[in-house]
Symmetry: C2
Subunit: 215 residues, 2 copies
Amino acid sequence: MTTPTLTRQPRTSYHHGNLEHALIAAATAMIRENGVEHVSLRAVAAQVGVSPSAAYHYFPDKDALISGVGEALFDQLADRQEEAIAALTSRGAVAARARFRALGESYFEWGRSETNLFRLMFGVFCSLDPGEVEQKRLESRAWVILHNCLDDLAATGAMDPALRPYGEILSWSVVHGATSLIVEGHLPEAAFASILDGLELSLGIANGKANGNSK
Amino acid sequence: MTTPTLTRQPRTSYHHGNLEHALIAAATAMIRENGVEHVSLRAVAAQVGVSPSAAYHYFPDKDALISGVGEALFDQLADRQEEAIAALTSRGAVAARARFRALGESYFEWGRSETNLFRLMFGVFCSLDPGEVEQKRLESRAWVILHNCLDDLAATGAMDPALRPYGEILSWSVVHGATSLIVEGHLPEAAFASILDGLELSLGIANGKANGNSK
DNA sequence: CTATTATCTATACATTGTTCAGATACAAAC
DNA sequence: GTTTGTATCTGAACAATGTATAGATAATAG
């Protein structure tokens, strides 16, 4: 909103260099600020300093551009999760609990601070076909991170073994559902901490409020 | 897609009668079929048999029309939930468990069969301001239904009392998150039953697989 | 019957996604 | 180094969209 920028940004060379990447980067920035529904192909092209038609050399249509943005975002989210885990200092059985907590919190924090990008990732534009679900999911970095964390919890006996098979799908559903509902204003922001508490309690992970950042 | 209908539908009287309602109804039908991102104000007006400008007498802009559609949908979802509960025949302590299960399943079934409407309800267009969250939530019929069900579960001792405070937010997050992820293709459809099993188990509701539709 | 008012229409405008013929610059061949 | 070829980008055009404005129409009140 602050920068309409419908006038084309000047450019030195005729060939752009890496237009595909530049288009995705510009589109990401604009979606991040104004939401996916208020982004125009023309504005993205103008920002990059290119004619609207040029985009069609790399993407069949606008939807493809936006999908391209979405795919890259899943990696960004996984980066955040790994950073959050790397920042932890605890060791041993406590570590697994802290990691579990950190995973949920970083997921929520991503949704809270990057709401427009979060909406894009889990909206129509990034919707997967039923065929590729199983494969994509198991390949996804975020899934692997969660999976390993739950394995550690189970190995150190810090989790109800009967619930282990439900670990990934249950945790992901809780954290994603809470984030979505809060982000869209159907639950208050403060509810997230409670929900995480409840999840840990119900999985038999944390005893009481003893969680996280102790050494 | 099947019916473009950009030509205006004929009308008998000059005044439509209840144009506001008719516009919402037509918009709902078109969103239901083609998704909110492929619905045009002009097409909705044409379907009702009215000029595009006529809509601006009842809605300040297109977004307001769509928001109007969304609000009505929350009632439709609550209707489905109440129907699902009313269809149950069990009594006593078993009834509370069966009701809990039915609530989750009807929520998911709504998302699965009415995906485009589900996306609208929990998307940007129906996003609430932080101020009105608490009030709207406690007023919402779906919340009350869930709340009562959990009270019954707690009263009959069919639920871990320590988890009761987390009941609503945890259940809603799980069911909503699972529905969202499945609907957008990030989890397979078959996962929902497992997730519900896991939720019941973790809340201490069902012992093993003994759930639901027993008398 | 007349005047008032709510309701709807016609027209216009800027912006959008998309197409297509052609211009431009780089790379390889001679 | 010149020529040829090819990938890349431009320009103008099109239909469709959301929306504003001025005016037409019909229901209602006096």
